[in-house]
Amino acid sequence: MKYKLGTMAVAAMMAASPVMADLVFPSLSYRTGPYAAGGIPFADGYADYFTMLNARDGGIGGVMTKVIECETGYNTEKGVECYESTKGEGSLVYQPLSTGITYQLIPKTTADNIPMHTMGYGRTSAANGDVFSHTFNYPANYWNGASGAINYLLGENGGSLEGKKIALVYHNSAYGKEPIRTLQELSKKHGFEFKEVPVDHPGQEQKSQWLQIRRDKPDYVIMYGWGVMNQVAIQEAANIRFPMENFIGVWWSGSENDVLAAGDAANGYKALTFHGVGSDFPVFDDIKTHVTDAGNAAGAGDQIGTVLYNRGMYAAMLAAEAVKTAQEIHGVADINAAQMRDGMEALEITEEKMAALGLPNFGPSFKVSCQNHGGDGLVGVTQWDASSKTWSLISDFAPSDMDVIGPLIEEDSAAYAAENNIESNC
């Protein structure tokens, strides 16, 4: 009892000090635990972009931005605690960077009228804005990823995967299971054999899975992994001498952390992406001048240009653009979460906009609408060069097979709508 009362007093004092005059972007980050290697660069990129906007432009539309970090450790319980403790601070948009936490927050954010952006993760069928009013997953989702990988392989095999064997090595969680349905449908359509190889959290032990792959001899392996699982998988693939150019990871399995551990053996490993790689963009000069050189970097400042840093920065950029859109629609500079939602729903990213932001050709152009919260789902492929230690884009951002994905999204979101009695939003 003593402890309970003490903590209550502490919590009460904390709840009494919200600052409202800024544009608040909560960052549910994870800098600890088995997924920290992915969480740190993403959180750094997310925070640094807003710091840069504050220093360079004086915020967005004249209102300063503020990033509140809350450590989740990729744990859903802590994620809920973080959400509850930050939602009262005027938070505009949540980006939990965890599919598990996303599932918790979809109903909560909808009830609290706060938008959530799950960029390339979360519940794929949230792309249907008709059902998921407050959840956005532009510019691409898991199913676009699965289809993008198959499309790329089709291109490599002259348009036919007939008789090929494709294995999916996946994190045995909501995240990893997402692409299975899509890949099953695609295997029916293109006539390849599809095998599932689950890896349990956290994935440090994958000997048996890769033995199975060595026995089955699939032509291609697709991986939906995260955290330490990626490094281990790539190392194990190298151990059984699986050809790296036939091994394709989703965008969460394609960062420097994942391939560096395996050294030269990882050369030629491929990963999907929905944004550009490298630090060869003008915006990074601004970040260097205004953030790292000024000593205001969120992390150690050494992550600039890495895949996940770029992704965090891209997420922040999309959020900032949505704020600008919302400011135009509503004519107020200090917007609230509901106005932010309208801004996200009307967001349009064009090539000119990207170039003006210092990110020419960084990502595809897309347009969000009330029905479509998922963007156009353009997916590119990158390849790792172990000698120069760089990722390079080896394909264009190509469309995915919406004939297969569209009905699946329709079906899954209809089931959610029926379960929760949701009326059409649009």
């Binding site: 919590a11 800098r31 450590e71 319980e77 605690e81 045995n172 969680s173 299971k177 929760n420």
Partner: protein, 370 residues
């Protein structure tokens, strides 16, 4: 001075044997109940309920359950996470209507249960599963039993991940609680009023605690403790070890199942078995009862409060007051909680409950110790 027994006369056996024989203690207990039931629901907000009170109450139920098994009956169990998962998935199946399939065809579908009975069913089903996994305890003891229950933990998590019937064939393997109410008051889903969720869990916590307290000081509890202290001697004086051990597993699993069901339906709303009910959950609840005090109902509450509230308190102090980076605070949390566990084990092996007992003894004599 505070614990005056002078003038506190007890004239019947019932009065002498009540849970709180000292008048001051009893009034303090009523006061705590009064505040918890009547005052707290009016002052809580979303943050307090979802971040502090619900996890505290739910973990307290789990800790009471495990304490019956480990603290009272002496059977070490590492299967708590798995048993909580049984409660959660049973609750989910019953609240969405259990469907029975035979040969690929839907044989029949039970009507959807009310959330209250779904939670109870979660407890009942977990009790059955608990008895099943308790059977090895008749042959093996101590560390070996811990390993056997560890097998239950991994098997159950694997089962709920593997068999899609348990999660109604959803693509992601997540189970999500649909909106359910009692008498029109929503209890699950996103639009729940904080006071409703709190009172619902509080009801189960108080009921479980009262049942557990009365069982442990009655005949069954004495049998459990006899088995714990020396099973051969207990058998010789006429305690049936089969019955005693299996009832301990049953009652303990019942409580753990209820906590699992509440954990899923009211607290989180959506869970994934590997993440929410993994081996770390088993250890967490075990730490709660070790820190709180083995063989003590109050200890279960104290341990749950300690491990649920301390990390939040450290986070508030470190991040919000001192403005330290979140990762430093998260690492400090591990260091401090781990350090405190060691300190407790060395300085007070019987846990917070023993500290409380000693404090009460001191207060009885204060300020004139003889």
């Amino acid at each position: 001075m505070f614990y005056r027994e002078a003038g506190d006369f007890r004239t019947t056996y019932a009065e002498d044997q009540q849970t709180f024989p000292i008048k001051f203690d009893r009034y303090r207990y009523y006061l705590v109940l009064f505040i918890a039931i009547v005052v707290v629901p009016f002052v809580v907000n979303d943050y307090w309920v979802n971040s502090l009170l619900l996890p505290f109450l739910i973990y307290a139920i789990a800790a009471i359950g495990l304490n019956i098994l480990v603290g009272y009956c002496g059977q070490v169990s590492l299967g708590t996470g798995g048993f909580m998962a049984v409660g959660a998935y049973t609750c989910y199946k019953f609240m969405t209507g259990v469907d029975i399939w035979w040969g690929g065809e839907l044989l029949f579908r039970l009507p959807e249960f009310n959330i209250f009975f779904s939670v109870i069913m979660g407890g009942v089903m977990t009790a059955l599963v608990g008895v099943l996994f308790g059977l090895p305890s008749l042959r093996i003891k101590g560390f070996y039993l811990a390993v056997a229950t560890l097998a239950a933990q991994f098997f159950l998590v694997w089962l709920f991940n593997r068999v899609s019937w348990f999660y109604n064939y959803s693509a992601s393997g997540q189970i999500s609680a649909p909106e359910r109410d009692i008498f029109g008051v929503l209890l699950t889903g996103p639009s729940v009023q904080p006071w409703a969720a709190y009172l619902f869990c509080l009801f189960f916590t108080i009921t479980c605690a009262v049942i557990a307290r009365n069982m442990t000081r009655g005949a069954s509890g004495r049998k459990w403790m006899a088995i714990r202290d020396m099973d051969i001697a207990a058998e010789i004086i006429g305690v049936n070890p089969l019955k005693a051990k299996l009832t301990a597993f049953m009652v303990s699993s019942f409580f753990i199942g209820i906590s699992g069901a509440l954990f899923f339906s009211v607290y989180l709303g959506a869970v994934e078995v590997g993440e929410a009910f993994g081996i770390t959950k088993s250890f967490l609840v075990l730490f709660m009862i070790i820190i709180g005090g083995l063989g003590s109902i109050f200890g279960s509450f104290a341990g749950a409060a300690f491990l649920v509230l301390l990390p939040v308190a450290l986070k508030v102090v470190g991040v919000d007051w001192f403005g330290w980076p979140t990762d430093i605070v998260a690492h400090l949390q591990l260091v401090i909680v781990g350090g405190l566990i060691i300190v407790f084990l060395i300085a007070e092996p019987h846990g917070i409950a023993q500290l409380w007992r000693v404090a009460k003894e001191k207060l009885r004599l204060w300020p004139f110790p003889h």
